[in-house]
């Protein structure tokens, strides 16, 4: 139990996907102009990452390793993830326009977010079992969502600040992210195993 908690704290805070692992940065920069968008994206990513962690665990355990096909890992992982995400999007769009507006519209963004491949690959690298894979995916996505929302809050405030012309927009966003990463270094060294 304690192991799982540590695993999750590690994935969410200490080795935060965005600020430490450097995964999913394009979404991080793209969807954080508004808190609402960031929240939606966070929820959608949490869903996809959890599902894809489980799926790829199955793929790895039942197809790739038994047949010595690990060289196909990257290809099969990303293929399955992309297709599943696209399929989910279609299903949500059809069955619930409301859900589509809150979650579904974010799904296409997720395929081009490298955390959906990065986290499954990390799962493999760290030899996670089924439960660990799922929790790791889930917690990483929570960490991702947290940073997304926090950063969106900061950017909403920056949008109202008198930032010098040279830095307004993306440059100051990166500098803010830099200071956020600096703050997160406070968590470094928390042992998670």
């Amino acid at each position: 139990m304690q192991n799982y908690v540590l695993l999750m704290v590690g994935a969410a805070l200490v080795n935060n996907v965005v600020l430490v692992r450097f995964l999913g940065l394009c979404s991080f920069m793209g969807v954080t102009t508004k808190v609402d968008t960031a929240t939606g994206m966070g929820m959608a990513t949490t869903f996809v990452l959890t599902v894809s962690s489980v799926l790829t665990w199955a793929l790895e355990t039942f197809l790739l390793v038994p047949n010595d096909l690990t060289y196909l890992r990257t290809v099969t992982f990303i293929l399955v993830i992309a297709a599943v995400v696209q399929f989910t999007e279609m299903v949500v769009k059809k069955i619930s326009p409301a859900l589509f507006q809150t979650l579904g519209i974010y799904l296409p963004l997720i395929t081009t977010n490298c955390s959906v491949l990065g986290i499954p690959l990390l799962n493999v690298e760290q030899h996670h079992n089924f439960m660990q894979s799922m929790l790791y995916g889930f917690a990483s996505a929570l960490g991702f969502s947290l940073i997304l929302v926090v950063f969106a809050g900061l950017r909403e405030r920056l949008a109202l600040a008198e930032v010098p012309r040279l830095f307004a927009g993306p440059p100051i966003a990166f500098i803010t992210a830099s200071l956020l990463a600096l703050a997160f270094m406070g968590f470094s060294g928390i042992s998670t195993n």
Binding site: V35, V149, V150, F151, G153, L154, E156, R157, L158, A161, E162, V163, P164, F167, I172, I175, T176, L179, L180, L182, A183, F184, M185, G186, F187, S188, G189, I190, S191
Partner: protein
């Protein structure tokens, strides 16, 4: 009359100003600063002045580049305060280039790239300190034990000048670990907290400030004095300091009760590190903390809790600066969620329902 008719009312204003506010904070910092100048001697004075001057120069440089007038901003005391607080959070004998880089991190990076006073989202002094700590862990954890000015062990004027601005080596045997650092190192080699406590100054000395630490953080009592002045003059309110110290104390005491060998006690956490400096002077920075009282309580608890977490579990022995920056990042979200309830409206912003009158 012509100049102000373009403005709507009110036509009377409270006798407040940014300058007066900042001035009061500077005054409140004086006792602790003076005491620590005495405690750490000439090198500390040079370090302090260097930091202050570099910060003022950095501000002036930024203002010139931004083509803004110099005086109102330089004179309102905010950058002096940033420099002062930065100096107070540096090791007392830090060399000049640490001061310079700190000033650049604090004033240029954390303040002026965001647009100057009031626009920054992170506490400039703490950005300066943390960037230095991360970049120069060695120099930033080189503390000294007290050598009061005038005592035999205190370095002389010329020697001190050399230590801060040149390459004069430190006198032997002055370097010392801070209390938090010592406990953490001992713990990492398996020495329980209960045992390492015996090698630390007693709580009275800790409260008075007679222990190694950053330049301005050691004297809890004098900082408290300054804090009370700020409270009395209503520059700050009780919410943030109480929340910071309360949450830190409660967490530390609880865990200490469960496992005294692993976790240091509440009083120790209060009196060591930058707890008082942080609670009264740093976490309270207007610009980077929430504007509502409820928000401030949440923010303060966050700072206290994270400080404890980082001190107890993470790689760095002291967590106040990180905790402040982390909560700075959360401030917009906190502000968003803890807006006061508007008159005649529900917390969600809808008009209150009309009650049936009977």
């Amino acid at each position: 009359m012509s100049q102000f008719i373009v403005r709507s009312g009110p036509f009377t204003h409270a006798p407040t100003s940014v300058r007066a506010t900042m001035g009061l904070v500077l005054v409140a910092l004086l006792p602790a600063t003076a005491f620590n100048l005495w405690l750490f001697g000439w090198p500390a004075l040079f370090m302090f002045l260097a930091t202050l001057i570099f910060c003022l120069l950095a501000e002036a440089g930024c203002l010139i580049l931004a083509k803004k007038p110099l005086m109102p901003s330089l004179g309102d005391g905010s950058v002096a305060l940033t420099g002062w607080l930065l100096a107070m959070s540096l090791p007392p004998w830090a060399p000049w280039w640490i001061c310079l880089l700190g000033a650049i991190f604090a004033v240029v990076l954390a303040k002026h790239l965001f647009g100057g006073l009031g626009q920054n989202v992170f506490n400039p002094a703490m950005v300066g300190r943390v960037a230095l700590l991360v970049s120069f862990p060695l120099q930033m954890t080189a503390f000294v034990s007290a050598r009061p000015l005038g005592s035999a062990a205190a370095p002389g004027f010329g020697q001190s000048l050399g230590m801060i601005f040149g390459h004069t080596p430190w006198p032997d045997q002055v370097s010392a670990a801070s209390a938090l650092g010592y406990v953490k190192t001992e713990l990492s080699r398996g020495v329980p907290v209960t045992q390492s406590m015996h090698h630390l100054p007693d709580l009275m000395d800790m409260a008075l400030g007679l222990h190694p630490g950053s330049f301005g953080e050691t004297s809890a009592l004098l900082l408290l004095l300054g804090g009370l002045l700020l409270l009395a003059r209503r520059v700050i309110t009780w919410h943030i300091p109480t929340a910071v110290m309360g949450s830190l104390f409660v967490l530390a005491t609880l865990f200490h009760a469960v496992d005294p060998g692993r976790y240091a006690g509440g009083l120790f956490h209060l009196l060591s590190g930058a707890t008082f400096l942080g609670a009264f002077f740093i976490a309270t920075d207007y610009v980077t903390s929430p504007v509502t009282k409820k928000g401030q309580l949440v923010y303060g608890c966050g700072v206290g809790g994270l400080t404890w977490l980082i001190r107890t579990f993470a790689g760095y022995p002291e967590g106040m600066a990180f905790a402040v920056l982390l909560m700075n990042a959360l401030t917009p979200i906190i502000d968003h969620h803890f807006r006061p309830r508007a008159f005649g409206r529900t917390p969600q912003g809808d008009p209150l329902p009309l009650k049936d009158r009977t």
